[in-house]
């Protein structure tokens, strides 16, 4: 009896094993959420925060559209509609996803766990939650942000920054702790950065020091210090520029603004330009002379998200007037 069915069984097993190799496996059992839109019902407050962020705006941002020729430059898609970053090795470049691109850098971009379900930094995730949360410390790691934000060297700049400015990680400045409904503590998902005037203001310090000089002209030392930024100022996209401008007041009227200095990492084909970003903790300064008849002198810092923006479109970060 034993000898009759054993070869049959072994043959069946062998056939099944061969079939398993020959037929391409294709079904993937998904753990919810399958789209970031699913996150909204349980986390409406986080969803609202994220919706006001530039992560949510990443794919639809008209300025990005213009600079990427409406994503004809498909390489831009990788960071503006990325797959889950945790499915890549730490710090490695992320790749573009196929679906729900309109959601930009969505919940799953940072929270999709490679093994299914969502990744959280919570050490005791609720096992009953529909999204099957798993603790994954990497979610909050610098390298995770670096998959996109080191394309232009921001994370490398942060590594070189003075300790007092770099703080613990990207989250220290860009995802501060917040309290939501019922006193629940969490991380703010609005990601304040260059698009927030408050963040820009906290990044730099503008100072004017008047020097007395014999003769007909006045002298002023203008300085800008990267005093609150854990990376260069400005950083990330090469399109970003910060311009210092100055003007004098004579006979009760302010003259036109004059260009003083541009802080920017130029595009690769702008071979004649130098990188003039202001590293964390560094100070730039220049001495200016102005006519003796001046009755007023002021300097302002304009921030542009692209170098061709007019003064009217740019954001005025800070303006300082010299006391006469």
């Amino acid at each position: 009896m034993k000898t009759r069915w054993l070869p049959l069984l072994l043959a069946s097993l062998g056939t099944l094993a061969l079939l398993r190799i020959a037929i391409p496996p294709m079904t993937v059992h998904e753990t919810p959420p399958i789209s970031s839109a699913d996150c909204r019902s349980c986390h409406p407050d986080v969803w609202e925060e994220w919706q006001s962020s530039h992560h949510a705006f990443a794919f639809k941002n008209p300025e990005v559209r213009r600079l990427s020729q409406n994503f004809l430059n498909e390489e831009c898609l990788a960071c503006h509609a990325p797959r889950g970053v945790l499915s890549f090795a730490p710090g490695e470049r992320v790749l573009a996803r196929e679906s729900d691109r309109g959601l930009g850098v969505d919940c799953l971009a940072c929270h999709a766990h490679p093994k299914g379900g969502v990744a959280t930094t919570n050490l005791r995730p609720d096992p009953r939650a529909a999204c099957a949360p798993r603790t994954e410390i990497r979610t909050a790691a610098v390298e995770t942000c670096g998959s996109c934000h080191n394309q232009h060297g921001t994370v490398d700049q942060w590594r070189e920054a003075p300790l007092e400015l770099k703080q613990e990680s990207c989250l220290s400045c860009h995802m501060a702790s917040t309290f939501r409904l019922h006193g629940r503590k969490g991380k703010n998902h609005t990601f304040p950065a260059a698009h927030s005037l408050e963040s820009l203001k906290s990044a730099v310090t503008l100072a004017l020091i008047r020097e007395t000089k014999l003769g007909q002209t006045g002298r002023v030392i203008v300085s800008l210090t990267n005093s609150g930024c854990g990376h260069h100022f400005p950083t990330d996209e090469r399109s970003r520029a910060a311009d210092l401008q100055w003007r004098v007041k004579t006979h009760q009227e302010w003259n036109a603004w004059q260009h003083l200095y541009r802080f920017r990492d130029p595009y690769r084909d702008e071979a004649d330009l130098e990188n003039t970003q202001l590293p964390a903790g560094d100070t730039w300064q220049e001495t200016l002379e102005f006519p003796a008849e001046a009755v007023g002198f002021e300097v302002r810092l304009l921030y542009r998200t692209n170098p061709f923006q007019s003064d009217e479109e740019a954001v005025e970060v800070v303006r300082q007037e010299l006391a006469f």
């Binding site: 069984l9 099944l16 993937v28 059992h29 790749l95 691109r101």
Partner: protein
């Protein structure tokens, strides 16, 4: 019968792979392929060699009697050394305009296919009209029409200098379908447009036997796919999209590279090539079926493999794609729907209708792609971006397979 035996049998029918596993089989790495090409590609010039050749070029540019000797030396130089020197000149940011035009002039007279990848890349960066025309002439001699759009653009520019216009007109005699001596400009213009159209569909202007050096240069260029900064990746994609059939087989080898980024970007490039690749693959059914069956097993790059397969536009491709639409996750379903939009023949539309009727949770992208196949003017989902809608409408009209 032992009670555990049925359990063992069931275990052997275990569910298919999960996202972190893959039954895909890797091929040779880029380095191994480079060694396998039997060549090291274009030689790297020593500084002494470069300086010597540069002195010749300086005298050659002056023309007249003084140019005779250096020109002869350049002619006597091996084609590979000369091509390497010309490339080094035109790739330099410091080169002045006369030297650059001189270098492209030599390329136009005696191009070697080992220079193809890097010369095609010059099309992306070269701004000087004369240089672009000469560069395109050399490419045409190697049966590569990537520069024709630039020539078309220049001829349509009313402000182009007369001398440059004449040079652009002269290049039309390089067209494989040139109507012959004495043809009117209207006839030549028509020939140019026919060629451009044909290139878009086939990228094939006749068989050429690629050299081992060309293959080696291909593998060297493919190294850029490993780059973490995106610029080198984008450069390689730009080039490989324009190399035509000499690169198709090599791309399919690169798509088996053990490096995930190399596979991803190679398959993406194949998807962008689209129709010419499909026309090239169509007569080689066993080859492409085996290739894509293997590529689709790779869970990491499955969406890109689907895009490459759909991009070929071959009706038969849809048979391989359907299971991924019906059983894939959201990403895979979207890629499969887009691939079907580019390839699915009408006799499979009923299967699509049934799928759409039963499946409610597919992405807006996938739903719109499938609707485009089944309806003449479907309403686009509000969450879809206009550019995404436009791209899919374009795919719908670009289908070539019956």
């Amino acid at each position: 019968m032992k009670p555990w035996l049925p359990l063992l049998l069931l275990a052997s029918c275990a569910p298919p792979d999960t996202p972190e596993t893959s039954s895909w089989v890797a091929g040779l790495s880029l380095k191994e392929n480079l060694i396998g090409s039997g060549s090291e590609g274009l030689p790297t010039l020593t500084p002494e060699q470069f300086n010597e050749y540069q002195a010749w070029s300086g005298a050659s540019i002056l023309g007249g009697e003084i140019a005779r000797r250096p020109n002869r030396k350049l002619i006597e130089l091996s084609a590979l050394l000369r091509t390497s020197f010309l490339l080094q000149l035109v790739e330099s940011r410091q080169v002045n305009l006369p030297t650059k035009q001189w270098a492209y002039g030599w390329w136009a007279k005696a191009p070697h296919d080992a220079g193809l990848p890097r010369m095609v890349l010059r099309l992306r960066y070269e701004k000087d009209p004369t240089s672009v025309i000469l560069l395109s002439q050399g490419l045409l001699l190697l049966k590569n029409a990537s520069g024709l759009d630039a020539i078309h653009h220049l001829l349509a520019d009313e402000n182009l200098a007369n001398q440059t216009r004449q040079l652009a007109k002269d290049s039309l005699s390089y067209l494989p379908n040139h109507p012959g001596d004495g043809a009117s400009f209207a006839q030549e213009w028509q020939a140019l447009n026919d060629c451009r159209q044909s290139w878009v569909k086939t990228q094939d202007f006749g068989k050429i036997n690629s050299s081992a050096e060309f293959e080696a240069e291909f593998w060297k260029m493919a190294q850029r796919f490993k780059s973490q900064p995106l610029r080198p990746v984008d450069e390689a994609r730009f080039v490989f999209r324009r190399l035509g059939p000499p690169a198709f087989g090599l791309l399919m080898k690169a798509a088996k590279d053990p490096n995930r980024y190399v596979r991803e970007h190679t398959l993406q490039t194949m998807a962008w090539i689209g129709e010419p690749l499909g026309r090239w693959l169509l007569p080689q059914a066993p080859f492409w079926r085996a290739f894509f069956k293997n590529a689709l097993r790779d869970t990491l790059t499955r969406t890109r493999a689907l895009a490459a397969l759909g991009g070929t536009g071959m009706a038969e491709a849809s048979l391989l794609i359907f299971p991924y639409l019906e059983n894939g996750n959201r990403e895979v379903q979207t890629a499969a729907a887009d691939a079907l939009l580019r390839s699915c023949p009408e006799n499979n539309f009923q299967r699509l209708s049934m799928f759409l009727a039963l499946e409610s949770r597919i992405s807006p992208e996938a739903r719109f792609s499938l609707s485009l196949l089944l309806q003449t003017r479907p309403k686009a989902p509000p969450e879809l971006d206009p550019a995404e809608i436009e791209r899919r409408r374009r795919w719908r009209t670009q289908r070539w397979s019956p």
